[in-house]
Every structure is written in structure tokens, then in C-alpha cells.
Amino acid sequence: MHSYRLTHLKELESESMHILREVAAQFERPALLFSGGKDSIVCFHLARKAFFPSRVPFPLVHVDTGHNFEETMIFRDDLVKEHGATLLVGSVQESIDSGRVQEETGYYASRNKLQTVTLLDTIEKHKIDCAIGGGRRDEEKARAKERVFSHRDEFGQWDPKMQRPELWNIYNGKKRPGEHFRAFPISNWTEMDVWQYILLEKIPIPSIYFSHVREVFDRDGVIYANSSFMRLKPEEKPRQMRVRFRTIGDMSCTGAVDSPASTLEEIIDEVASSRVTERGSRMDDKRSEAAMEDRKKEGYF
């Protein structure tokens, strides 16, 4: 007599596959937001599992700030080619050129806030009725209270107080014309779960997650990769350093960590002993106590 028991990773996987299939069944034109970061890579892997032997029945959407790590772009294009996926790109540069948004200036200029407009424009252009994202509830306080099926009004806004109760595994994706949803299949995963799952399933990830030497500079206690997008203050001196990235976002707001971890096992050990959350090195969240909540209300991921 064997016991019918799943490990925590297999139970999370099963829940996420169920959510992805509900999205495919309940919406007409869903799409997976794909940043090239580990969370969206795991979402894509789960989608492949959920629909195998069919192809993933929705396109990938990349909101391209133009300030990318080159390694991430190569990874994205290889993945699309290997799995025959459809890729739709929404360009923040185009939003700037067409006057939809205005580029921030100064040392702290970031395109992070601008990408909300590009995202909403892309959703509208391709008539996407559900944008699937790799957000996790352990990342941030406002995310901890967001539903798996998150309703957005015709302006793409999230109203935390008007959220629909979500019970058992029944998801309500009913909406009026013009409204859309965000769906978060890995809501219940932690950073550790994601890393353990990547190891378990042998999922390829971009090389910059592993330790490498690159030119960096320090600002406000955060280590940034130096690039042509960054405007250095006079006292900021670039130097070579052995680093890796714990999250991958826009280059202007993603900090590196001083780390020798060059294998998944070493990364997992490092995450396990870390005393700072992964968003601790994200400048975009530090702007204010409710930074994430405010951005989400405007239509951010």
C-alpha cells in the first residue's frame, strides 16, 4: 500500500497547471507576460506541461524597456525559437517616440514606471483579455492580497477593496467588454520554491543569474551594472566585480549581489541563508512604502 502524497513542489506545480488551463478555457485571447526573468520562465515551463503535447495556446508578450541585459534578450529569442512560441513585443521606446509617455531625466531616471502605459497599450492593441504574470505573493505586501484571477477595469486599474472573493480552486473570469484580467499562476510560490523547481526540472535560465565578472558601480547601497543607459554621478567610479543577479528587470533599477554562486545548488544555499528579500535590491520598490500598491492600481503587473 503506498501513500498518495505529493511533495510541495509537485503540489504547487499541479495548482499552477490548473490555473493556466482555467485561463486558456475562460478567456478568448490570453497572453503570457514574459520578461526573461526566472518567474516568467517557470510560468512558460508550467504552461508547456499543462498543454503538452499541444503547443502553449497563447503568445508571449515582452514589454521591452530598451534597457535590457543582452544575455536576457538572447535567452528570450532562443526560447521562442526552440518552442515555436509566438512573441509580441511592446516597446517603451516607441511609447516615448510617439509621445505617449515622457522619459524621466536625472540620475535616477528609470523606465520602470513608463512601462505601465506600454503594457496597457499592448494589451489593447492585441485585444488581450487576460495577461498572465509571474507575480508571487511572497514578493511584496500589496501582492500578498491580490487574487489569482485579478480583475482590471477598462483603465487597467486594480481596486484592492473591490476584489472578488476567491474560494477553493474556482476562478471567476467573467467580465464586461473592455475589461481585462491579470492571472498569477505562481501566486503561492516563494523565491525558494522557484529555485528548487528550476533545479528539479532542469529548466534553463539566463547566464546572469550565475556569478560572473562585470563592470559595476555603487549607488545608495545598491550595486548596479554599468551600461550606456546609466548616468553616473561624478563620485561614482565603475569597477570590476564578481556578481550575480537575484532578479532580472530593467537594467536601471535592478541591483546585483556580491556572490560566488555559480551553480543552482549554490544559489539555493545562498537564498536559504539570505537575510534580505529579493526585491531588497530593486530600486522601484523603495520609492515609497506603498510603491507597489500605487503602481498596481495604475495597471502595473
Binding site: 504547487l12 488551463r21 503535447p53 500578498a144 474560494l167 467580465k175 537575510r275
Partner: protein, 424 residues
């Protein structure tokens, strides 16, 4: 922390639990302690909390700031929604659905309880059973939570007196005999001082039972799911229509009960056609069997019509089928339940409409008595209702299977989820 990382993770399982309580019963302190002692609170979160606490002038670091994430909550110092928190020990990963205990938030408690294996109910040792203790226990029972742990908290304020604990336990036992919970435990703790939370109390040697953390790590949960009645609601039909998989037609879904094995006979509902399981797929992997709560794709030997909303079951163990269902309904919306009103209804993967034929009674959730007279069901009320659906549903009683025994109602005008129902 080594065991928590690369080495032990292949043998960890997942426990979902809910905590309900009001501001002053020590719930935030308890959660804070569990998170802090399992190292799930990070330095930058602590720093943010310290910053916010000093801004509010609250002196000590307020651990509730960890869960109260929305601006309105922080401004008003209340919790308005279910907050999910995560921590892990080398043995298990835990998901906490933390819900506020005020009467107007019954809907949050019900939401948090719907997926929980276990409920922690805090009782203040100085006050004993309160109205809200009964309410929390009743909701845990109604939502079919298999394990309930009563933590008699603030034992430090009653001099760790065994007699106080024994008296409260006796009262809780009397009350709990009316409930349908299989497994009920009682632990004397002090969340503030840490007694019997993670470490065994030195000051209550009269208590021989497990600490809360030991219980959370070791309580047997594999048997909580139904592995007897085979139920497989079809979510999605997989048809690759590619060269390699030309004739492949698989049914994607999540097993909600029983074990499905290759070569075994299944019956499709509602059509009634029977066939044999040809293969079971999990991604590129083929399985011999699938059990709850696995998500798989099943193919059959015969070409029969199966679509979303259908259910694969065992021919000799069928669910009930019918258009008239009796449910215990929790109402979530400001607009009261309309007797005779029509709503959209979702049951497993099936969508239908229903009409409210009769409100049998409203429950007084503080006394567990049927409220006489006015049967109106308003926001946060719970009542027994008779529904008539437009198409037959294939269901089990909720107490037998939480997935095939649950429904939600949706307002067809606003698309809001207005109620959750447990089939009786």
C-alpha cells in the same frame, strides 16, 4: 538552514492553514513568531516595519505591519482582506491564510478556510471562550477543515496555571461535539514569550503534548484528500493536430477524488458513455496512475465526445446528479440574496445558471441556532438555501469532497462573486 535548501526539499510537503482572530488576541504576535523563528522575516522587511512603526509612533515593532499591506489598512490600523504568508521548515512548506476576525469579515474567513488543511483558533486564557471563538470554530467546521488547533494563548498572564487550561479545554470540548471536525487539538501557549510555540515551555511541565510547531510539521495530512471516489472534471481538451500527435485527443484536468489508473474503465458524465483509460500524461512524462490533487491529461481508448464541464468518474461509484441542490450559502455582497433571483453558478469546471427557490433558514453563527423570523440573507450571513440549476450538476456532499461539493454564485449584472455554497 542547510536542510531547507538543496538537500531536503524533495521530501517536503505542503500544509495550508488559516488563522482567525481579532487584533488583541495575539494572532499577529503568533504569526510573527512563527515567521521570525523560521527565518521567514527578512532584514529589509524588518527595516521597513521599524520605519513604519516609528512613523506611527507605536514604539515596539508592530508585526501586524507585515501582513497589513494596503494603504487603507495601515491608515486605519485594520486588516480588510485575506493575506497570504509563507514560511518553510526542513519538513514542510506552509501557507498561512491570515484573516481578520471581526464579524463583518466572515467572508474573508470563509475564503481563507476554503483551501486550508488546518485552522488555528486563538483563545485568550484570561477570557476563555468568546462569541468569536464559536464563530471561528463553526466556520472551520462548515468549510470542512480536517484539523483544528485551539491555542490557549497568554498563559503567561494566568501564571501558567494548568487549571485555567483544563477548564477552557473542557468548555471547548463541549462546544466542539456539535461540530464536524475530525481532529481537534488543544495547546497552552504564550505567543509573546514563546512558550510551546516553537520551543517547549519550561514553565508548563504539566503539559505533555506537542508544541504548535511540532504539530504543524508532523500532523498527518496525506489522508485529508478523498482517494476513494474517482472524480475528474474536464478543464480543457488537448488536440495538438500536429504530424507527431495527429490523432491525439486528451482531456486535461485536475483529479479531485480517487485514483485513476491506466487500463481502468471510466464513465463520462453527463453523456453516460463508458471507455477505458488509454494513457495518463504529465507533460512529457507518462504515468501509470493519477490521484488528487494531480493535474494531468487523460486519453481514452474510444473516440467519444467529451468537453469542458464533463466529468470522468468510476461506473460503480457515481456522484449524485440533479438540478435541485441544497446548500449552506455564505453571502458576500452588499446587496442581499434575492429570493427567486437568478444567478450564474460555477461548479468544478461547469458553468450554469440557477434560481433561488427557497431560503430555508438563516444561521446565527454566534449561537449556532437557526434564526427565526426574517430569513433575509445579507452580507456575511450564512444560511441554508434550495437552488434549482438550469442543467444537471454532478456533485458530492461537501463533507465528502470539498471540490465536487462546492459552488460559487455570480451576479450576472456585475459579474461579482456574491456567494459560496457547500452542498449538503
Amino acid at each position: 538552514m542547510k536542510d531547507n535548501s538543496t538537500h531536503g526539499y524533495l521530501d517536503m510537503d505542503l500544509l495550508r492553514f488559516t488563522t482567525a482572530g481579532s487584533v488583541d488576541d495575539g494572532k499577529s504576535t503568533l504569526i510573527g513568531r512563527l515567521l521570525y523563528d523560521s527565518k521567514a522575516i527578512f532584514d529589509d522587511q524588518m527595516e521597513a516595519m521599524e520605519k513604519a512603526s516609528s512613523k506611527r509612533g507605536t514604539g515596539d515593532v508592530d508585526l501586524s505591519l507585515l501582513t497589513d499591506g494596503l494603504r487603507a489598512e495601515r491608515e486605519q490600523g485594520i486588516t480588510i482582506d485575506v493575506a497570504y504568508r509563507y514560511f518553510a521548515t526542513p519538513k514542510r512548506k506552509f501557507i498561512i491564510a491570515d484573516t481578520p476576525g471581526h464579524i463583518q469579515y466572515t467572508r474573508n474567513m470563509v475564503t481563507g478556510a476554503s483551501t486550508a488543511n488546518l485552522a488555528i483558533i486563538l483563545v485568550d486564557a484570561r477570557k476563555g471562550i468568546q462569541e468569536q471563538t464559536n464563530r471561528h470554530a463553526f466556520i472551520a467546521s462548515l468549510l470542512g477543515i480536517p484539523h483544528v488547533v485551539f491555542c490557549i494563548n497568554k498563559m503567561d498572564l494566568v501564571d501558567f496555571d494548568e487549571a485555567v487550561f483544563t477548564r477552557i479545554q473542557k468548555e471547548l470540548e463541549d462546544f466542539s461535539s456539535k461540530l464536524e471536525v475530525r481532529d481537534i487539538r488543544y495547546i497552552p501557549i504564550s505567543a509573546l514569550k514563546g512558550d510551546n510555540v516553537v520551543d517547549r515551555s519550561q514553565r508548563m511541565d504539566w503539559y505533555q503534548g506537542p508544541t504548535l510547531m511540532y504539530l504543524l510539521e508532523n500532523i498527518h495530512i496525506a489522508g485529508d484528500l478523498n482517494h476513494i471516489d474517482r472524480r475528474f472534471p474536464v478543464q480543457y481538451v488537448v488536440r495538438p493536430m500536429t504530424e507527431a500527435w495527429h490523432d491525439f485527443r486528451g482531456f486535461a484536468g485536475r483529479v479531485t477524488g480517487g485514483v485513476f489508473r491506466k487500463g481502468e474503465m471510466v464513465q463520462v458524465l453527463p453523456s453516460g458513455f463508458q471507455s477505458t483509460i488509454k494513457s495518463i500524461h504529465l507533460g512529457e512524462q507518462e504515468l501509470e496512475e493519477a490521484f488528487a490533487p494531480q493535474s494531468v491529461v487523460i486519453t481514452l481508448t474510444d473516440e467519444i465526445d467529451v468537453s469542458r464541464g464533463d466529468m470522468l468518474v468510476s461506473p460503480n461509484n457515481m456522484p449524485e446528479t440533479g438540478q435541485d441542490i441544497d446548500v449552506m450559502l455564505c453571502w458576500f455582497n452588499e446587496r442581499p440574496l434575492q429570493p427567486g433571483g437568478k444567478y450564474a453558478i460555477k461548479h468544478t469546471t461547469r458553468d450554469a445558471r440557477c434560481m433561488v427557490k427557497e431560503v430555508k433558514y438563516r444561521m446565527d453563527i454566534n449561537t449556532l441556532h437557526k434564526a427565526e423570523g426574517d430569513p433575509t440573507i445579507r452580507m456575511n450571513d450564512i444560511g441554508r438555501v434550495h437552488l434549482r440549476t438550469t442543467v444537471p450538476l454532478h456533485f458530492d456532499k461537501y463533507q465528502r469532497n470539498r471540490s465536487s461539493g462546492s459552488v460559487i454564485l455570480i451576479d450576472e449584472g456585475t459579474n461579482e462573486t456574491v456567494a459560496a455554497g457547500m452542498i449538503l
